[in-house]
């Protein structure tokens, strides 16, 4: 019989009076890769929190390495040896890779740290090397992929028998993810168990032995390897189709002509007015360059950028917003909202600049309220953004753009970290912007849901556009 690493029995947990985990039953065995898809994000943070720490639960029992660690009558508040790898950096930036792996762990008795001994230990344990990562390299210099790899080794050295991998596809490219899967499989063969949490079944099915579907804090279905097919998952998913396709115009909005920069090696493409184009970056090094060029943070080494028919120089790029270019950042709830301002102040934040008035007239404010109340309802009267649900906050972010009405919108990984219903909502919001005639460029690391709104997709790898897919060719991705 296989050794059981984690057993969660009938666990119910409440947080702030709200049930966040409802009668959860979950078993993970030694060397197993258990997938988990959250159809709604409710309970996601709380489950991971509970796995790491034995917090009070309303009902049920939790066993870790076949030992009862938490039950409804007594929760010790102790930590379990479970490691979480997510988009949050778990390493100490100023310490070397070897120090992060060998020094920053529980139970280290030594007081004197000798870097050369750590290096030797590193090479002894990982003779094949860590994808060329030097043990002396400071953690802040690591890429996302390298950081995830170092964290994986760190978890193994710390003797964690269960590693939680959370939403890796939201920050690792397809190529990186594929390479990372090899390491996961290797360690699962050595007996380490994984809980792989992802938002897309296509991604989770690739790596998992079994998959649990979570919805509204409950596990609604566990799929075995044989059941991991579109046919079995379809009843639990929703359609992402929105409205009729909106044709783009022929007028060029943004053109890159043989652009060379730090990571771009002769990138050429053109985006038409009103089009929605996905730039899928397989190797995850072009997006940063693209944004740096658009915002004038770096200059074109060779080639040219044409925006609205005119050369787009660094001088213009520094005033990108005034040129009609807006960006919705990744994880916009954290990075795009002013939490100390009310809903309306957030909504109109960009518009006063467009209107060219330093003091916004009450008459204008009232007309904005009248117009946008029909879209967002009573949320517009919200004083404290903390009272709003994620979908309402996304409304605020996208309707701010809708109100500003830019010529070009750049969305950076708009679907990262969002559950299925929220992703569907984002697609609808993007469709509304597209209906308004706004040109949209989606920067993405994986195909995911972008294609339900896109007119075209450009696949980029190693600093070049390697393929251009028209909407009719999207079938190859489904």
């Amino acid at each position: 019989m296989r050794e059981e690493i984690l057993r969660i029995e009938n666990v119910t947990r409440k947080k702030d009076g709200v049930v966040c985990l409802d009668n959860i039953n979950l078993h993970i065995f030694k060397g197993e890769i258990m997938g988990m898809i959250f159809l709604t994000s409710h309970g996601k943070d709380e489950l991971i929190e509970l796995l790491c720490k034995n917090l009070p639960i309303e009902y049920g029992r939790i066993y870790y390495k076949e030992e009862l660690v938490n039950y409804y009558e007594y929760s010790s508040m102790s930590m379990n040896q479970i490691y979480v790898i997510s988009h949050n950096d778990g390493l100490i930036g100023n310490l070397s890779v070897a120090e992060n792996i060998f020094v920053m762990r529980k139970g280290l008795k030594k007081h004197l740290i000798n870097q050369s001994k750590l290096n030797k230990q590193f090479h002894r344990l990982f003779p094949e090397g860590l994808s060329g990562i030097s043990p002396e390299k400071p953690a802040y210099e690591l890429t996302h992929y390298e950081r995830c790899l170092v964290e994986l080794y760190r978890a193994v050295v710390a003797d964690c028998k269960l590693i939680v991998l959370r939403d890796l596809a939201s920050f690792l490219s397809r190529v990186e993810l594929t390479k990372y899967y090899e390491y996961i499989r290797e360690y699962s063969r050595l007996g380490v168990a994984f809980l792989y949490i992802g938002n897309h079944h296509e991604e989770v099915f690739l790596i998992s032995d079994r998959v649990a579907l979570m919805k509204e804090a409950r596990i609604i279905k566990v799929l075995s390897k044989e059941e991991m097919t579109d046919e079995h998952i379809t009843p639990y998913t929703i359609s992402f189709e929105v409205g009729e396709p909106i044709p783009g115009e022929t007028a060029g909005m943004l053109t890159f002509k043989q652009v060379y920069s730090k990571n771009m090696k002769g990138v050429s493409f053109s985006v038409q007015k009103g089009e929605c184009v996905v730039l899928l970056d397989k190797s995850s090094d072009i997006h940063e360059d693209f944004l740096d060029l658009i915002y004038g943070r770096s200059k074109v080494l060779s080639g040219s950028i044409i925006y609205k028919g005119k050369p787009y120089t660094r001088k213009e790029a520094r005033k990108a917003i005034l040129q009609g270019i807006l960006t919705i950042n990744k994880n916009p709830i954290k990075s795009m909202l002013f939490w100390d301002m009310n809903y309306m102040e957030n909504l109109i934040f960009l518009s006063d600049r467009k209107l060219g008035c330093s003091v916004m007239k009450t008459r204008i404010l009232e007309s904005i309220i009248e117009e946008y109340q029909s879209y967002v309802g009573k949320d517009i009267y919200t004083g404290n953004l903390k009272e709003l649900e994620p979908a309402s906050l996304y409304n605020l972010i996208y309707y701010r753009v809708h109100l500003y009405n830019p010529d070009l919108l750049i969305c950076i990984r708009p679907f990262a970290d969002a559950d299925m219903y929220l992703r569907r909502h984002i697609v609808e919001l993007l469709y509304q912007l597209k209906e308004k005639g706004i040109t949209i460029i989606i920067l993405s690391l994986n195909v995911a849901d972008s294609l339900s709104i896109a007119d075209r997709m450009m696949l980029m790898e190693d600093g070049r556009v390697i393929k251009n897919y028209e909407k009719k060719d999207f079938d190859v991705f489904f």
């Binding site: 330093s358 003091v359 009450t362 404010l365 559950d419």
Partner: protein, 329 residues
């Protein structure tokens, strides 16, 4: 009231109402302990005592709302006092001296803003440096001596800043009120004001929204230096001479007036209506404790405790927001 009007008027009002109630209670307590507290003469003095604290509080509030701090504000008061007095004792026209003093203070404000926003120095360190420099200038400008009397030629200057009255109120109070109205208008009604809040609230979002971070931060530090300059001129007019230690400890008073009034040290929150109440609480505590015979040490201890409690409450309230389910996606 419709939403548009409410929106314009409501930022941070909860905190203002709370501290106003606190102020009223303090006044009642001191009034009961000593009925002279409510006498017309004491009220006049109290307002005149509050005015400089209100001014430096307004300056500090601007900087705090951007998420920074200005430690040089006290030294700038001293520099303003000494530079203006020295120029006047050397025979310069008082109003020309005022203009030159204002210009020199603005230079320090500009330096603060650029050091913090452009060169990315931590505000604590940058303004600690300019604090020492400004105090040094205050000392060196008259060869390490306080100045002599600014003389009879400066009578108009002294009346304008301290001794004169208009519409039954001392000019000092009018100056503070006029500057408060102007700066309150800028902060609450203009785009610049909104950008100041935006920088303190979410710097990344402000950048993405095209806010000129350097320009807006510099503006906040310039407001701070204008306020400090005015207070220095008031002190110069009050004593009729320049004193090198003028403004000593005012940076604490400025922070006290701001945070008691609800301005967050973490940035993005508060308004300068609260700073009036914060300055008034500071003034009433100083005045009231003096009335009941409390020594200076006790007054300082009480004010220090109130500042710590105010900041602590702010930190507790704000830390709660990150645990809110709404921000978890």
């Amino acid at each position: 009231m419709n939403l548009a009007k409410k929106m314009k008027a409501s930022r941070g009002m909860g905190q203002v109402i709370t501290v106003t109630i606190g102020l009223i209670i303090l006044c009642i307590v001191f009034g009961i302990l000593n009925p002279n507290f409510f006498s017309g003469r004491n009220a006049g003095n109290l307002f005149r005592q509050i005015a400089p604290i209100l001014l430096i509080g307004v300056g500090q509030s601007y900087v705090l709302i951007t998420g920074n701090i200005d430690l040089s504000i006290g030294s700038l008061v001293g520099m303003s006092c000494m530079v203006s007095a020295t120029l006047m004792t050397k025979g310069m026209n008082p109003w020309m001296a005022v203009l030159l003093t204002l210009f020199s203070c603005l230079l320090v404000g500009l330096a603060n803003g650029l050091l913090v926003a452009k060169l990315k120095l931590p505000p604590f360190i940058a303004t600690l440096g300019t604090m020492t420099i400004a105090r040094g200038i205050a000392q060196i400008v008259n060869n390490n001596y306080n100045t002599d009397s600014i003389g009879e030629k400066a009578e108009g200057f002294r009346n304008f800043f301290y001794y004169g009255k208009s519409f039954g109120l001392y000019n000092t109070i009018w100056i503070a009120l006029v500057l408060w109205v102007i700066f309150n208008f800028i902060l609450s009604k203009t785009r610049t004001g909104r950008h100041i809040y935006a920088i303190g609230s979410n710097l990344e979002a402000a950048k993405l929204s095209g806010v000129d971070i350097v320009g807006t931060t510099v503006k906040a530090f310039l407001v701070s230096s204008i306020c400090a300059c005015t207070v220095g001129l008031i002190i110069c007019a009050t004593s009729g001479m320049g004193t090198m230690d003028a403004g000593n400890g005012y940076e604490l008073y400025a922070v006290a007036a701001s945070v008691i009034g609800g301005v967050s040290t973490l940035g993005g929150q508060g308004n300068i209506l609260g700073t009036i109440i914060g300055a008034a609480i500071w003034g009433v505590l100083q005045n009231g404790l003096q009335f009941v015979g409390a020594p200076v040490a006790i007054r300082n201890i009480v004010i220090g405790i109130i500042v710590i409690v105010s900041v602590l409450l702010d930190v507790i309230v704000r830390s709660g927001k990150f645990h809110n389910k709404a921000i978890k996606v």
